[in-house]
Symmetry: D2
Subunit: 345 residues, 4 copies
């Protein structure tokens, strides 16, 4: 049984790790930390977990965490970068769900996060934890930086087009929309039900922190710098991200069958599901499931291709992907413990 620790277990990615790990036969949560809730039972805070865990929050403690094989960081950014060096030197392997190790360039990181990085020596060692991109590097990694939720949907959606060089990499457009759980379990007027229910709005148009991560990931795929115009929007619902992606074909419209291209590209990826022609993604089909559903269209047969991608931001966009990464790191089948079916209706 793999011994798991979770740092920062009171947010939505923390409770989602617990929900998913409850049915993982080869991993067991030994430690879960929260400074604010020390001593409180996890099922007191999250009553959906009653009967599943006999576990209380503890104050983060190096010695205690060092007994774990795998330590997940389900913290806001700026926490992991201070603790990870210690965890690694204690022999733990680390899966960071936060943004601390996603960018390889420390200066770029600092310019977007407004502070200097506390352990930038690890930025190049950290593996970007998108299994469909880096499955092999993940297997051997000590430190994996799990992708953000928007980047997961956008990189998976554009990958086949960029890898095959079919579209102009300098003018990609991503119009994405996320449920409010992406904003975290944090007391803010902006995310009250009375503020965001029954409404839809863009945000972060002038610059969202996921932009450099998206461009880094897509540039890795394309082998050339990629430029994306990224507009995120807030949906009046809890879970789900949908990205609508636009790209223009190169000199001429492609002879290639895009449906076949996508199906072939992802045929080894158990959690990427290319929908049959004529079917479009909807977030509820993947709610609670570790799955990305994709569709491709070329409206009116013109020169612009549209890719649509749906994930659950807390599962394939965060905690499910983190467990998928853990499975790969441990040499397990990638799908262990990830059989949850989308909750529809």
């Amino acid at each position: 049984m793999v011994k798991v620790g979770i740092v920062g277990g009171t947010g939505y990615t923390g409770v989602e790790l617990l929900r998913l790990l409850a049915s993982h036969e080869q991993a067991s949560v030994a430690v879960i930390t929260s400074r604010a809730e020390t001593g409180r039972r996890v099922d007191d805070l999250f009553p959906n977990l009653r009967g599943l865990y006999d576990l209380s929050y503890t104050t983060p403690d190096r010695e205690q965490l060092a007994t774990c094989d795998i330590v997940f960081f389900a913290t806001p950014h700026n926490v992991a970068m201070h603790m990870v060096p210690d965890m690694l030197s204690a022999g733990c392997r680390v899966i960071d769900l936060s943004a601390d190790y996603r960018l390889r360039d420390a200066r770029l990181w600092s310019s977007w996060y407004g502070e200097s990085h506390a352990s930038d020596e690890l930025l190049t060692e950290a593996v970007y934890g998108l299994p469909e991109l880096n499955r092999e590097q993940i297997a051997d990694a000590r430190l994996v930086a799990c992708p953000g939720c928007y980047p997961t949907s956008i990189i998976l959606g554009f990958m086949p087009l960029l890898a095959s060089g079919l579209v102009d990499p300098q003018h990609l457009i991503a119009s994405s929309a996320s449920g409010v759980s992406g904003a975290g379990r944090i007391a803010k007027v902006d995310n009250l039900l009375s503020e965001v229910s029954d409404s839809f709005k863009p945000y972060g148009v002038s610059g969202h922190r996921h932009l450099p991560e998206i461009e880094q990931g897509l540039s890795d795929v394309a082998g050339t710098p990629v430029v994306v115009t990224f507009v995120p929007h807030l949906l009046p619902m809890v879970r789900g991200i949908h990205s609508t992606l636009f790209a223009r074909f190169g000199s001429s419209s492609p002879a290639q069958n895009l449906q076949a291209l996508y199906e072939h590209f992802f045929e080894e990826a158990p959690f990427v599901d290319v929908l049959p022609p004529g079917t479009l993604p909807q977030t509820r089909a993947v709610r609670g499931a570790n799955r990305c559903q994709l569709a491709i269209a070329v409206p009116q047969g013109r020169d612009t291709v549209v890719v649509m991608a749906a994930i659950d931001n807390l599962v394939k966009g965060a905690s499910g992907q983190a467990i998928q990464v853990m499975n790969i790191m441990l040499g397990l089948d990638e799908s262990v413990g990830l059989g949850q079916v989308g909750l529809l209706p």
Copy 2:
């Protein structure tokens, strides 16, 4: 033109006063205060008001407020009770939307609010501002305490039954449900969309602060002490309160036609609408409107009567009712500026 001041203009009852007063031909908002947002334009915080007000928040100031004919307090409890004596002595008339003056008994108030009352000498002068109960006293009042949202729906619903002595006043039951806007525009994890959307729950079962107010109001109607079991619930939506009320007939089932009783009882009340037999209330029919819709049923012809009442908690349950009160105080037609139609769908 009546000069209006609003103390505490950044909450939902504040912005709702502004929305409604924008179409009031005989009142004009001269002052709106907020310590936290001093200097900020109201339409910057609430973009639905763009083009309607050229107004910015100011720090509450006695001299400035004293220039107003009517001062609304749209503050949390514990604010008005410190400022109202001053306003009254300056010659303003005050309409308090908070809970500070709703209970006549200072000890009862203290036991529910956990502190002593700062101006308890005004508790007996303050008129409970339910026009359908106290229209005449409101006309002459210096200080009106507007009812809470739940009490408005429950008192209106039970009034005809209690006034006519048809039901047992010692065993009333009120099962109510409110949209989340009733919890205010306050940063709390509990009211995040991700916490309360797609879910339904009771709260405050052991004792909600509206209980003594409900029992005081109903006792006034009945002329005898009334006992209510009150269970509020939180709805996954923004606006609307629905109360489902249960009472048992006295010795025998009534000969009286309850539908006629209700229609007659409220025939002079422009904002209470007794629905025709067979039609039941729904909160969306009164969304944004200063209206209470009521229906009565005696399921299976047994000995228990069910009354159903729907209001918009921010309008007839708060700011609309406050303007109705203002109209009465000023000798205007009760309906001036309150012609907004329910937003359906």
Copy 3:
């Protein structure tokens, strides 16, 4: 491997059976019928099931269904009563999720459903499939009538009080609220998102078809006729039922500790969870899970007790309970395949 057939697989209880059975190790769906969708793949209609079933709808056929060990009816009322006699004579055991066999009294059934019963000779054989009430009879049954969603929450909530004779059985009150999925996957203007979103309303006050079922079940528990005033309401959300139950104590307030009474009463019931004192149910904690969460309160220490119960109407209120019943019928552990965790947030 137990061979399962599902009659009527295009409604919400049908797709929910499929979602839950996807992780049941000892049962496999061999047949699923739908006249309207014959030939269509189930995962074409319900894309959350992609990769889990290689199954298409067929027209109901006696021979084909007769090969199944267990046949679920996930049909509207009035279908099962025509087909079940045939299924039983073919040697299948039947679990009916519809209302056809819930009432033992054929005349009562006819008066509520407006037609005569097509196989009333089976009404007394059919076991009412609430495991917490009839676990032993279910084990040996050929035909089980699964409870309605409201009755499940209301009977479980009142059971300990009625079994112990603490409350007046003639004046029970149930104020319940359901998500819209309870109304089925049927084209009706009344259940459009634009009609029911952002709104709350009572319905069926003069008589809901679940009333006689509730009273029959509670009378079985009490050993005396029980009278309930039942008001259902429609919630602006998909899944979840919450019932708020009111009862009056007999001559005096009970010496007994109600919390202990409830915990003891349900200690052998794996899917009934009595919450610790001070914690109240919320539907999201049981969303997608086969679980009923209960809490008890005596507001202000008066003579009225309030019980609150939350279930997912499609799981413990329908398809999950049906699988629980199947497990009992097959002599399996009651919990097999029912380990889904509530989806929170």
Copy 4:
């Protein structure tokens, strides 16, 4: 008093015309038709209108409608085109909210609507009723075709850019999202709350009927053929459309101040509100109001401009715009009866 007739008064644009006209001082609804609801009071179907109209549905009748000065068609497409010639010859002026007269090219219309047009001789006479584009032609028109909801938001958003020739007109992208009320008050499984709540999905990617209308309108503005990639999405809410628009600058990035360009372009348009820099549109700010809020951004100062536009699909996207058109046709102030304030929260 202008006498108004409404053909097709049971859909959402019909009830919205009634809601808005209730506060129009110079127009009065004399006739409202519905074959299905003939004889039923409008406030029986729409209880938000109780007390406002003493009006029942009638079967459409030429003589009766001919007594009206203005006849609104709030029907599905394919109804108006059969009745309008008659109405015009009877001397009525017609405002059609349906799609029947929006395209000038009869062959294009037929190819998108799958039938031949019944009165194509009127297609060139009909004025496209976007006041910000055709204010003068509307004033004199006998027949006005009100724009679709998506086209309203997209044309208003792109207008200043295209009129000034700043962007490539051959590669415009519109990613739009609509509340479900846009799908009408029609019994369809697809629009049940249980199907579309808590979910987000694209639809009509291969070709939505608003596409030719958008391209026709934008080509009029640009004076050159315009090509748009248009992807609509369905939001889990009732009202509101938001369009996120992308265009690429011509040879170089513009010297021009886009904020000033937009403010200047719309300075005479009372219902188009260019938000101050840094503020982004949100649909709730315009819910129930006849207003379009716009914002412009150039992310990262690159070569792609993003315009964001929010309207209420039933108001500025349908019935409010139709009343604005009526005011212009009648020589009234454009804003008469359109003072409703956005319902926020």
